[in-house]
């Protein structure tokens, strides 16, 4: 990992020490007086400003990375929408971006991202084929919406367009991904739930919630509309105006009938709604379900027959990044794919982009529970030691292949995005 980096990083390092030596001679008296040796400044530690959502910014990961490499990670936590906004409007305010693939349709055309040279990524060829070819265990999964395979390759390092076939440059190196579904309170619902249509079932009137991030919320709504048999979308991730109207109309009717208790926008809101029993069924994220469970409250991340809405995040580099910071960013990405971080994320219920290296850092019983859908041989603990599942429990959604193989669509940005946001506001105002 360090081999391709050394020759490049050597230059600025010596440049720095020479400069500080010069300063040293000039201001010798001052330095002697203060008792500082000039060489102190020779190897300034670099700090990478890591822009992303709070969910992916784990303190333990940053600490472990700094321990391993001496490079500091400074987390800049904002919401999903704000990550995109910063990438478009202030590309020099970060050194590494952690964003979702669907945001790329907005960021890449600005030219603010630099293609990542896969030749510098040690485990690039081991990245799961879900990203490169859109398959799980050799079978193609749903590619409605912004599937990563559509936007993962760039035509060149400084390209503003996506490549149709694999190239040397990736827009984002995948880090974590998962497939979302409905979260339910089995103790309060007391019957099996098997379809997205249940979200708008009047049985749960006043006890349902949906995600209030329009571009994702509308996808959940589309899953419901399809499950109710109202309409079959050619591409849920890219609706026509008429389809947006229809979807929002369905939501408005449900809202007027008092179906929703609340809408939620951030992770903690969804956890609180569920944990307090304000809602019993809502669209939900996997780690939020885990968070409810660690409070000792029953909560299922319910697999549904229509499949999942998938999302994937990855690391990208700002176009202006260069020198030692660029090397540091590559080093971080390589370190991230090297197994420790992957195992850490797998234990939180996410999936890591390079499964092989993560497997090497996990216990066999953990791998069997998280990835193979087998009953836990012993208590399953989260990375910080909370018990997530007792021995004998099986993960919701089963194995990696069962869950990721069941993807129906991906989080997306539509061509009619502006119209969609306007209609979504209409739903909120109704």
């Amino acid at each position: 990992m360090s081999d391709p980096i050394d020759p490049i990083s050597a230059t600025p390092a010596t440049g720095l020490s020479r400069r500080s030596l010069l300063q040293g001679t000039a201001g010798m008296a001052g330095i002697l007086a203060s008792g500082l040796a000039p060489a102190v400044h020779a190897q300034d530690k670099i700090t990478l400003r890591y822009l992303g959502t709070a969910v992916n910014q784990d303190k333990t990961i940053a600490e472990k990375f700094e321990k391993d490499t001496g490079i500091k990670i400074q987390y800049v936590a904002v919401t999903t929408d704000d990550v995109t906004k910063r990438a478009v409007t202030a590309p020099n305010s970060f050194d590494l971006i952690d964003t979702e693939y669907f945001s790329l349709k907005k960021i890449v055309p600005t030219g603010n991202l630099k293609g990542i040279d896969v030749k510098k990524i040690k485990n690039a060829d081991k990245i799961t084929p879900l990203f490169t070819t859109g398959t799980v265990a050799g079978k193609a999964v749903g590619d409605q919406g912004t599937a990563p395979k559509k936007v993962i390759y760039l035509e060149g390092e400084k390209s503003k367009v996506f490549a149709k076939s694999p190239t040397q440059f990736m827009s984002l190196i995948p880090t974590v991904y998962n497939a979302d579904t409905l979260g339910i309170r089995p103790d309060l619902i007391k019957r099996p739930i098997s379809s997205w249509a249940e979200l708008l079932n009047p049985e749960f009137k006043g006890k349902a919630a949906i995600l209030n991030i329009p571009s994702i919320g509308i996808m959940d709504a589309a899953m419901v509309v399809e499950a109710m048999g109202i309409h079959k979308y050619p591409d849920k991730g890219n609706m026509t105006k008429a389809e947006i109207d229809l979807t929002i109309k369905t939501l408005i009717e449900a809202k007027k009938a008092g179906q929703f208790r609340a809408l939620w926008k951030d992770f903690n809101e969804s956890v609180n709604l569920m944990a307090s029993g304000e809602v019993v069924i809502q669209s939900m994220w996997s780690p939020a379900v885990t968070a409810v469970r660690t409070k000792g409250i029953a909560c299922n991340f319910q697999p549904l027959k229509e499949g999942y809405r998938a999302w994937a995040a990855g690391f990208g580099l700002p176009a202006t990044l260069s020198g030692r910071k660029l090397d540091g960013a590559y080093e971080f990405i390589n370190w991230f794919l090297d197994g420790w971080a992957g195992a850490y994320l797998n234990r939180q219920g996410y999936y890591s982009a390079v499964l092989e290296t993560a497997k090497a850092k996990m216990e066999a019983y953990e791998w069997a529970y998280w990835m193979e859908g087998k009953p836990a041989a012993q208590d399953i603990k989260s990375p910080n030691g909370d018990v997530l599942a007792k021995a004998g429990a099986v993960r919701d959604g089963g194995s990696y292949e069962a869950r990721m193989g069941g993807i129906a669509c991906w989080n997306a940005v539509m061509d009619e995005n502006e119209y969609m946001v306007r209609k979504w506001n209409e739903f909120v105002a109704a």
Binding site: K106, P109, T110, P214, K265, S276, G277, N425
Partner: protein, 307 residues
């Protein structure tokens, strides 16, 4: 009050040297005002006429953003509602009026108690500080602390159920108009108390005695003496409360379960989708509405004269 200010103002105008000094004294604030208010405002107005796509702003002159806001406002929607902009403004105005009315009555009562019933000035100060205690925590925290109290399984519902007053939990306590107004009143009554208390403290106590001597009842004194003399405070408090509620999106979001619309919320959603020109157009309209309200309020009282 007004006579003293004119007597100071007169000699200033006489000497050109003094005028220059006055300008210098005004300069720092003018600079701040221009830098942090006028220029940004000008930019917002400018951007509201720009075009945009998914990822960039396109400098141009187009009325498209304003048209988009009022699109469909000539007819009712198929659900029998007004268009988004109109119904959002109506709901925002409704909250402003409700909150204004309640905070006014509450704020006036509290200020009246502090100013006329509490005799010792030490006690007045102590009670006044007591009123500000809640402001030592952030207003998001003060807001969120209502949630476990009002929820379906919250303290209020549990208490009522425990006493056997209700069978099933009351649903409208949380994520409803009620909870929004409650949180606003909790957060902003202070903004009414302070200016009203301030004007009450400046009322000459002999006026009250005179009213009493002339045979006025307590209510007559209140209505014919105290209220007119507190007008300035009332108007200043009203401006605070109304402008805050008109622009709010956090309180309405948190307490309304994110399903109650407010103009601020729409602007926030649009900026998070990089639709800055649309958001700017909305902001310009909101500003115009708020300015009109303030203009109407200042018609009732000449604040500059009263201060």
């Amino acid at each position: 009050m007004s006579s003293t200010s004119t007597s100071i103002a007169a000699p200033v105008a006489d000497s050109p040297n003094r005028t220059l000094h006055a300008w210098w004294q005004a300069a720092p604030f003018t600079l701040v005002f221009v830098l942090f208010f006028l220029i940004p405002l000008g930019l917002i107005v400018m951007v509201s006429f720009w075009d945009f796509n998914e990822y960039e702003l396109l400098p141009a002159f187009t009325l498209r953003n304003y048209f988009a806001i009022f699109e469909g406002c000539s007819t009712l929607t198929e659900h029998g509602d007004f268009c988004v902009s109109l119904s959002t403004y109506l709901s925002t105005l409704k909250f402003s009026l409700l909150v204004w009315g309640i905070t006014l009555v509450l704020g006036f009562a509290v200020a009246y108690f502090l100013a006329f019933h509490v005799r010792s000035s030490g006690m007045q100060t102590a009670l006044f500080i007591l009123c500000t205690v809640p402001f030592w925590t952030s207003n998001v925290i003060r807001m969120i602390s209502w949630v476990p109290l009002l929820g379906r399984n919250g303290l209020v519902n549990q208490g009522l159920q425990g006493m056997g007053l209700i069978e099933t939990p009351i649903e409208w306590l949380l994520f409803s108009d009620f909870s929004v107004v409650l949180a606003f009143v909790h957060l902003y009554t202070m903004f009414m108390i302070v200016p009203i208390f301030n004007s009450m403290m400046r009322i000459d106590r002999s006026l009250l005695e005179a009213a009493s001597d002339a045979g006025a009842s307590a209510w007559q004194t209140l209505w014919n003496v105290v209220v007119p003399l507190c007008k300035t405070g009332i108007i200043i408090g009203s401006i605070f409360v109304i402008t805050i509620v008109m622009g709010d999106f956090v309180t309405i979001g948190v307490m309304g379960g994110q399903q109650i619309a407010s103009v601020g919320k729409i602007i926030q959603v649009q900026t998070s989708y990089l639709q800055f020109p649309l958001a700017a157009a909305n902001a310009v309209i909101l500003l115009a509405v708020v300015l009109m309200i303030i203009w109407c309020l200042t018609r009732l009282v000449d604040i500059r004269k009263e201060l």
